[in-house]
């Protein structure tokens, strides 16, 4: 009987305590933010969309190798001895034409493993987080600044150069020169 009354009392009392708390919260300001109108300031280290400053990229493929989900796709073509590709902002000399630098941001897992290996600090994460698309293909970001024709040209230039070199090397040797296989980076093979 005592337990019975105690249960009743306890039941009512704890409900009242709870009601007091929720009533108090009725008048505390809300923490919700009206999102598209109001935005939370992001901290400086925030990890969102990747960006590549292609002018600084030397095509070393380090970021691509660090990526755990293979979302970075890089193709490079060696430059000819005469060509000057300029230097990066921290003074490294470029030696490769970056014919393809694609980041499939849909695959990206925002782990930031690609950022530290970059020798020229040209790949980094920005604070842009609203980049949804209706087409999945639009999420493949192409950073290479060579046009397609240029890329093809560079490639054929290099192949020609290579063939010439090969030819000159084999001039005295066996007459049957092997047909030249197109140069492909390791990355390309992996992604096929």
């Amino acid at each position: 009987m005592k337990q019975y009354l105690k249960n009743t009392w306890y039941g009512i009392w704890t409900v009242l305590i709870g009601m007091k708390i929720t009533f108090k919260h009725l008048f505390t300001p809300a923490v919700t933010i009206q999102y598209p109108d109001v935005k939370v300031p992001l901290p400086e280290r925030v990890r969102n969309r990747l960006y590549v400053n292609i002018d600084d990229c030397i095509g070393c493929d380090q970021c691509s190798r660090a990526c755990p989900v293979n979302c970075i796709e890089i193709e490079t073509v060696k430059s000819l001895p005469g060509e000057n590709l300029g230097t990066t902002s921290n003074g490294k000399k470029k030696a490769l034409w970056v014919t393809k630098f694609n980041i499939d941001i849909a695959k990206c897992c925002y782990c930031q493993l690609c950022v530290p290996p970059c020798p020229t600090e040209c790949i980094y994460m920005t604070d842009v987080y609203e980049f949804s698309e209706f087409e999945r293909d639009n999420l493949v970001y192409k950073f290479a600044n060579l046009t397609e024709e240029e890329a093809v040209e560079k490639k054929s230039n290099y192949e020609k150069f290579q063939a010439e070199k090969e030819a000159s090397r084999q001039v005295g040797a066996a007459a049957s020169a092997k047909p030249e296989t197109p140069v492909k980076t390791q990355q390309e093979n992996k992604n096929e």
Binding site: T14, L42, P43, C109
Partner: protein, 371 residues
């Protein structure tokens, strides 16, 4: 004359509001009484272990994030400790302190979700949102430190991805001061609410010997009354330097080892975590946050099994290295996976409504169960 009756099979999940993900429970019901429970898992299976074999050691870390996505920091912690043990390297003091602070903050954040969803399953919506509000504050601390809110990839082999932010210490202290009173409020609102007690006390009682035999760890084991905490038992990192207690279930309102005890242990544990953070935050030494490790991590041949006290229990990494860049085998002892095994045992003889109360109290994360 006895009536001929049949049991009814009720499929709970894989899409159900309170199976905490894609767990499918095949309930055999007699009216509303549970005759048998058969959990079916694997709906979220990504084969982390196969992935890990194809990745280099640092690349595995983002994948560990995605196992127990509510305690990513701790998953990183366990993994990096294992690899460091394999490599035989010592990380700087500063790193250890920051790791411990992050780990404990993560423990609080994870327990907040556990407690909140446990309440939510039982029907209390409001505490859940209060707790999520507080969790946001912790996530903001993490975001400030490493830039991500949920999947941090923060602890790296031999160090951390970033040093802490200059404001971190101040904001963490502010958080501690803010958070203490909210625990009291939570206790008043939910923990000692008569209805909540009725729903959880004496429900899903897990006796200690069963718990040990089933390998249950973490708050679920402590709820059964055994002060077993790997932070003290098999101490790792620098946990031996801090003064904290291991809360155990005492059967305050019911039997030792019931759902309420498991729930309450989490609340007490949050307070202990606050204590650890308070002790650690003032002692962070200066220094570098990266140990001198080779650029390409290539541990020697060998095996290692390390375990850490994840918010859900014993998180173990069993790594076999064959001396290559990629681990030969990574086996994860996922606490939720093991804790879920005992679930069928706990539910027998209870009602449908108790199933979710028990499930909430053992606190599983399906990302970890299925890996």
């Amino acid at each position: 004359m006895a009536l001929k009756t049949e049991t009814m099979i009720l499929n709970m999940g894989p899409q159900h509001p309170s199976t905490h993900g894609v767990l499918r429970l095949e309930l055999e019901l007699d009216g509303e009484l549970i005759v048998n429970v058969k959990p079916h898992i694997g709906y979220l299976h990504r084969c982390f272990e196969k992935h890990a074999e194809a990745m280099s050691y640092p690349q595995v870390i983002p994948y560990t994030d995605r196992m127990d996505y509510l305690a990513s920091m701790y998953n990183n912690f366990g993994y990096v400790i294992a690899v460091e043990k394999l490599l035989g390297i010592q990380v700087p003091e500063r790193v250890e302190y920051i790791r411990v602070i992050m780990g404990e903050l993560q423990r609080i954040a994870s327990h907040l979700v556990a407690i909140g969803t446990n309440g939510l399953d039982i029907g209390a919506f409001t505490p859940f949102l209060y707790l999520f509000r507080d969790r946001e504050k912790i996530l903001s601390l993490f975001e400030m430190t490493c830039g991500a809110r949920l999947l941090y990839n923060y602890m790296w082999v031999g160090g951390l991805s970033h040093d802490i932010h200059p404001d971190f210490v101040r904001l963490t202290k502010e958080f501690i001061n803010y958070f203490r009173p909210t625990i009291t409020e939570l206790n008043n609102l939910l923990t000692f609410n008569k209805i909540f007690i009725e729903r959880t006390a004496n429900i899903g009682v897990l006796p200690l010997d069963t718990a040990i035999n089933y390998g249950v760890t973490g708050p679920s084991l402590r709820g059964s009354g055994l002060a077993f905490d790997i932070r003290k038992e098999d101490t790792y990192s620098i946990y031996d330097r801090f003064d904290f207690e291991i809360p155990v279930g005492q059967g305050l309102v019911g039997t030792v080892g019931d759902s309420w005890d498991r729930y309450y242990v989490r609340i007490l544990e949050m307070e202990q975590s606050l204590r650890i953070i308070e002790q650690a935050i003032d002692q962070i030494p200066d220094g570098d946050v990266k140990a001198a490790i080779p650029k390409r991590i290539k541990p020697p041949k060998g095996t290692v099994y390390t375990r850490v006290e994840n918010p859900r229990g014993e998180l173990g990494y069993f790594i076999i290295s064959d001396g290559n860049l990629n681990p030969f085998r990574v086996k994860v002892r996922a606490p939720s996976f093991v804790n879920l095994e005992v679930f069928g045992e706990l539910c027998k003889g209870h009602l449908v409504a108790d199933v979710i109360a028990i499930l909430g109290s053992i606190d599983i994360v399906l990302g970890e169960v299925d890996r």
